[in-house]
């Protein structure tokens, strides 16, 4: 018996019990649909993370003041005062893998423009910070080195701050108040969206680090160094020399903890990868469970079907069907059930992820790999769980089968 005939036969048999076939397929539909939807959500999440990593600048090396313990008591992150602009210059001078670096000091401030006011973060930094983070201005310009040297009262606004304080007005050249001090707005940055951690990167003001150090925070040290290595590989390779240099400069004895952190983008990417792997594994196991449950459903229905159609099997054998003809027929039926379920499930998954995209504003990426895997897996489920009932049908004794009531 040729394949098309068998397929036609299988479709006919399944069409005869439409409700039953549909309910049987439901397990597979839900399983596959869940896989497709969750994988595309997961891929959307990965995309967000990747974008976040990109937004922090390529080849980035991030150095943060850490939680040293001067005098035994541990201080919180960023609290140590040992990271200085001299450290940064030393790194630039001595670690050839690092191309450039920008310092950062942060604080919370109240900003006021006319009758609008807003509490936001301020980052004091140098002009090259924006190049390292590949973050251009959309209006005005970035403050210059002169203004850093003179600790001038100039600032750049993130788009969120600009919108809240100025609305439709053009902020460039306007005077705002940060704390008690008047600042001139020199530019507005491009929107950068959410960070990997989920906070709004545009809700921030930037000023020369000298200004923030002296006039806002009243400190002499810095909290972060945003450095850029000569290449992606170099960013990892630079971690060890930077660590060694800073330990030496900070007089940290062997065995003592670092009072700083060095992070690279690949650390973050690795972390994201790991999270992704765990998530994929989790989704995969949930999906396999539901597909196995679906498969058992198929097996159950196929067994019922074999029993119900015992006479039919007997007749087929009497008119010349061989064991393998009968086995093939029932196997194709099971695989048709599971694959139809798989295809419908793919449709359901695609629709589901489209809905999630729309209503939860969460990017979803359709994974072709997941779709192919789901299709193959559902066929495999059909073969695996259809085999036993098909075997049972094929091994019926035609005489008994014909007599079956």
């Amino acid at each position: 018996m040729d394949f098309w005939n068998t397929l036609r036969l299988a479709l006919r048999a399944l069409a005869r019990n439409k409700l039953r076939s549909a309910l049987t397929m439901l397990g597979i539909i839900i399983g596959v649909g869940a896989v497709i939807a969750t994988v595309s959500i997961g891929q959307g999440a990965e995309y967000l993370v990747q974008q976040g990593i990109q937004s922090m600048g390529t080849n980035a090396v991030f150095i943060a003041a850490g939680s040293g313990r001067p005098g035994g008591a541990r201080l919180g992150s960023w609290a140590v005062k040992t990271l200085t602009i001299d450290d940064m210059n030393a790194i630039l001078r001595e670690v050839s893998l690092i191309r450039e670096a920008a310092p950062a000091v942060v604080s919370r401030v109240q900003v006021v423009y006319q009758n609008q006011n807003w509490n936001t973060g301020i980052t004091g930094t140098a002009p090259n910070y924006f190049r390292i983070r590949s973050w251009p201005v959309q209006a005005g310009s970035i403050f210059g080195q002169d203004e850093v040297d003179s600790a001038a009262n100039v600032c750049l606004l993130g788009t969120t701050v600009a919108r809240i304080l100025f609305g439709d007005e053009d902020p460039v050249g306007k005077q705002i108040r940060i704390g008690q001090l008047p600042f001139r707005v020199v530019g507005v940055l491009e929107s950068k969206g959410q960070s990997v951690m989920g906070d709004d990167q545009d809700d921030r003001i930037f000023a020369p680090y000298t200004t923030v150090q002296r006039k806002i925070s009243g400190i002499t040290w810095i909290q972060f160094i945003n450095a850029s290595a000569v290449s992606r590989e170099a960013s990892n390779a630079a971690v060890a020399p930077i660590t060694a240099l800073l330990r030496e400069r900070h007089h940290i004895r062997p065995g003592e903890d670092d009072d700083f952190f060095v992070r690279t983008q690949s650390d973050v990417a690795d972390l994201a990868d790991q999270t992704q792997r765990v998530m994929t594994l989790l989704l995969g196991s949930i999906a396999s469970v539901s597909l196995i449950v679906g498969g058992i459903g198929i097996m159950n229905i196929m067994l019922v079907s074999v029993t119900e159609r015992t006479r039919e099997i007997g007749v087929r054998m009497a008119v010349g069907a061989t064991e393998s003809d009968v086995q093939q027929q029932f196997l194709v039926e099971a695989v048709t059930l599971s694959m139809a379920g798989g295809l419908l499930g793919i449709g359901v998954g695609l629709i589901g992820s489209a809905l999630i995209s729309n209503f939860l504003a969460w990017p979803t990426l359709i994974s072709v790999k997941a779709i192919i895997a789901a299709a193959i897996f559902s066929a495999a489920v059909g073969i695996f769980f259809g085999f036993y009932p098909a075997r049972k049908a094929a091994q019926l004794d035609p005489i008994e089968a014909l007599r079956y009531e």
Partner: protein
């Protein structure tokens, strides 16, 4: 036709070929039911020639069903030989037996055994699916076969829309579709009223006489066996009597004498 009808009085002399179509030699069938062994056939030897119309008679437990299963290649003898068309099929594999059932044998059952919710045409097509012929030829053959039993107009009816007699005729058409050499009918009239029974016997007699089809009919009804040419009586797993049928009934002649029933459908189809 009259010639043939009279010639059937002496079936053993009617054979034109000396090679028997069916030859059983000392066939035993023992069912091993674990604790007990059932000796269903105890050394049956017989010959059936091409073109014969044989009735196999016997009470239940006589072994006639077992004989039918062996003749139909649905089962194999425990001992002994079964030569079908000159070939010893008694030790054939299941696949080989399936092929023989498909090509050489046609089955008609008491329960009709048509596939439900499947049109008459598709039911008739069933054996052709396993014969490896093209779909066009399959349908053509099925239509021809239906026409031979007078049901050309009912090709797309489902079994549930057909009367018992019509269903049995579809079953006969199905048995004929692969042009078998032997038609095996197991109590074909067991579920039919007397007039319809005679109609079925009419079809079998016509196939036998007009087309030379060998018919083996299992029945326990004496009056049905009267339509055959030769009667084999079985008792306790043995062939007890092998006699030509005396006063053979011809269905075509019997039919006009029977009262027409309301559900009779023959007129509409033929």
């Amino acid at each position: 036709m009259d010639e043939q009808a009279t010639a059937t009085e002496e079936p053993s002399t009617q054979a034109h070929s000396d090679a028997a179509l069916i030859r059983l030699e000392g066939v035993h069938k023992i069912y091993d039911l674990g604790e007990v062994q059932v000796h269903a056939l105890r050394g049956v030897s017989l010959e059936i020639l091409a073109g014969e119309f044989v009735a196999v008679m016997g009470a239940s437990g006589s072994g006639k069903s077992t004989l039918m299963n062996i003749l139909g290649c649905l089962d194999r003898p425990t001992r002994g030989h079964y030569y079908l068309d000159g070939t010893d099929v008694s030790q054939f594999s299941k696949v080989e037996l399936a092929r023989i059932r498909n090509r050489k044998l046609g089955f008609v059952f008491q329960q009709f055994n048509l596939l439900a919710r499947t049109s008459a045409l598709e039911n008739v097509e069933l054996p052709t699916i396993y014969a490896g012929i093209t779909p066009q030829e399959r349908e053509q053959r099925a239509r021809e076969s239906l026409a031979r039993v007078g049901l050309a107009g009912r090709a797309h009816h489902f079994p549930s829309q057909l009367s018992g007699g019509q269903q049995q005729r579809v079953a006969i058409a199905r048995a004929l579709v692969n042009r078998p050499t032997i038609l095996l009918a197991d109590e074909p009239t067991g579920n039919l009223d007397s007039r319809t029974s005679v109609e079925i016997m009419d079809i079998l007699q016509r196939l036998n006489e007009e087309e030379g089809l060998t018919v083996v009919l299992v029945t326990h009804e004496q009056d049905i066996a009267q339509y055959a040419k030769r009667a084999l009586d079985f008792r306790d797993g043995k062939l007890r009597r092998d006699t030509p049928v005396r006063d053979r009934l011809i269905a075509r002649e019997v039919l006009p004498t029977l009262p027409s029933l309301q559900d009779d459908d023959a007129a509409g189809d033929t």
